[in-house]
C-alpha cells in the first residue's frame, strides 16, 4: 500500500520555527495535490510542426481515418518486425519455444529508474508463456504484489501474474503466462495495487515507445 510520508520523517531537526511551518505547509499541499499524471506517448512531445499546431482544430474525419489506418499499419509492422528481430536474436527457438514478441518497459515517474524486458513466447495449448526481466522496482509491503497486466485498447485488461521483489537494487527474471488469445496491438504493463486494493492499481512500468 502507498503510505503518506510523515513530515517529521522528511525533515531534519535543524529546521525549526517559521521555516519548518512554511515547509510543513508545502508538505500538505503536495499531499493535497497528489502525484502529477504520467504523460501518455501522445503528449510526450509538443504538437508537431507549426502548421500541425495551427491546424489541430481542423482535423477532418478523412484525416483521422487516414491516421488510424497508418497507425494500424505501423502496429502491424512493429509487431512483425519484433517477431523477426526476436526470432533472429534467439535463433528462432529456445528451450521454451519461439519468441513471438519482445516488449521493453520503462519505469513511470514514481519509479523512474525501473526497467524491464518482457519476452512473449509462441503459444502452447492456448497459453502464451512469458519471461519478465525486471530491475529497479522498490520492495512492497507484505502481502502486496506487483502485477503484470495485458493491455488492450489502451487499458489494463487482464492479469498475467504477480510477483514481488526483495529490494530496489535486485534484478529478477520471472516466468509468467498469458492465458488469453492475444490480438494485434496488445501490450503489457506492470502495476502496483492502488490504496484500497482496487484493480489493476497504478502503472509502474509501461512500454517504451519510439
Amino acid at each position: 500500500m502507498n503510505r503518506e510520508p510523515r513530515f517529521d520523517e522528511l525533515m531534519d531537526a535543524e529546521t525549526t520555527g517559521e521555516e519548518r511551518e512554511r515547509l510543513r505547509h508545502v508538505h500538505e499541499l503536495l499531499l493535497q495535490a497528489g502525484p502529477p499524471p504520467e504523460l501518455t506517448p501522445k503528449l510526450r512531445t509538443a504538437p508537431g510542426s507549426e502548421s500541425g499546431v495551427v491546424h489541430l482544430q481542423r482535423r477532418s474525419v478523412k484525416r483521422r481515418g487516414l491516421l488510424l489506418l497508418a497507425a494500424a499499419v505501423s502496429i502491424a509492422a512493429v509487431f512483425a518486425a519484433g517477431y523477426g528481430v526476436a526470432n533472429s536474436r534467439h535463433g528462432g527457438t529456445t528451450a521454451t519455444g519461439v519468441v513471438a514478441k519482445t516488449v521493453a518497459l520503462k519505469g513511470t515517474a514514481a519509479v523512474p529508474k525501473a526497467e524491464a524486458t518482457l519476452e512473449v513466447w509462441k503459444p502452447q495449448a492456448g497459453n502464451w508463456p512469458m519471461t519478465l526481466s525486471v530491475s529497479g522496482l522498490p520492495k512492497l509491503p507484505q502481502h502486496v504484489y506487483y502485477e503484470v497486466y495485458l493491455v488492450r485498447n489502451g487499458k489494463p485488461w487482464a492479469p498475467c501474474g504477480a510477483f514481488r521483489v526483495g529490494s530496489p537494487s535486485q534484478a529478477l527474471t520471472l516466468r509468467l503466462n498469458a492465458p488469453y488469445k492475444l490480438r494485434k496491438g496488445d501490450t503489457w504493463v506492470v502495476t502496483r495495487p492502488a490504496p484500497g486494493g482496487r484493480d489493476p492499481g497504478k502503472t509502474v512500468l509501461r512500454p517504451v515507445t519510439a
Binding site: M1, P5, L23, V26, L39, L43, D199
Partner: protein, 211 residues
C-alpha cells in the same frame, strides 16, 4: 489484485547493479537563467517554436492533470491538452502582462479548452454526478483542488531534476526515506538534504499563490 503469497516467488537473484554510493553530495551546477513564462509567451506570439516547446514542457503535466480531473477520461484529456496548447499558440499575442501573471493566463486558457471539451463530450461515465447528495467535495471545492494541484504540479516542473526525483519518490512511491536512499544509491543525508531544499524551493515558488 492480491495473490496468495506462494504465487510467483520464483525470482532469481542477480548481483547488485548499482554502484557504491558516493558519500559526498556533488556541488550543484549553477542553474542557467530560465526565461519567464511571460517572456516565452511573447516569443510564442512571434511564432517562436523553441519557446513554445519550453512552455509545453513546463505546463503539459499540470494541464493534463487538470484535464484528467475534470474529464475523467485519458483520451478526452489528451485531446483537451492538445486543444489547450493549440489555443495557447493561436492566442499568445493576446496576453497582457499588466493584467496578471502568465501562469494565470495559461491556466485560464487551459481551463477553457477543458470546459469546451467537457461540453462537447459530456462527462465520462466515471465522472457523472451522483443523484444523491454526498460528502464528496462540491464543484467549487473541486475547482479549488484542481487549481491547487495545477499550481503545485507546475512548481514541481521548475525544480532541479534531482530534487524533483526525491520528492516524487518520497510522496508518491510509498517508499520511506531510507528506501529512497537505497533505491537511488545515495546516502540518507543526501536524500534528506535534497528533499528539504526541494520543499524550500517549492515554498518560494508558491509564496503569494498558495502559502
Amino acid at each position: 489484485m492480491r495473490r496468495n503469497s506462494a504465487d510467483m516467488e520464483i525470482a532469481l537473484d542477480v548481483p547488485r547493479l548499482r554502484a557504491v554510493p558516493s558519500e559526498r553530495e556533488p556541488a550543484p551546477a549553477t542553474p542557467a537563467v530560465e526565461p519567464s513564462d511571460a517572456e516565452l509567451l511573447a516569443r510564442v506570439a512571434e511564432r517562436d517554436r523553441a519557446a513554445f516547446e519550453i512552455l509545453y514542457g513546463r505546463y503539459v503535466r499540470p494541464i493534463f492533470g487538470l484535464a484528467l480531473r475534470r474529464l475523467g477520461d485519458r483520451g478526452h484529456a489528451e485531446d483537451a491538452v492538445q486543444e489547450a496548447f493549440a489555443a495557447i499558440w493561436r492566442s499568445a499575442a493576446t496576453y497582457r502582462p499588466e493584467r496578471g501573471a502568465a501562469g494565470g493566463w495559461l491556466y485560464t486558457v487551459a481551463r477553457n479548452a477543458i470546459v469546451d471539451r467537457l461540453r462537447r463530450n459530456g462527462p465520462a461515465a466515471g465522472a457523472e454526478l451522483p443523484e444523491l447528495a454526498s460528502a464528496e467535495p462540491g464543484p467549487s471545492e473541486r475547482a479549488e483542488e484542481s487549481d491547487t494541484s495545477f499550481r503545485v504540479h507546475r512548481a514541481l516542473e521548475e525544480l532541479q531534476p534531482r530534487e524533483r526525483e526525491v520528492i516524487e519518490l518520497a510522496y508518491w512511491s510509498g517508499m520511506s526515506q531510507s528506501e529512497v536512499a537505497e533505491y537511488l544509491g545515495l546516502p540518507l543525508g543526501t536524500v534528506k538534504t535534497r528533499t528539504r531544499s526541494g520543499l524550500a524551493r517549492l515554498a518560494s515558488m508558491l509564496e503569494g499563490e498558495l502559502l
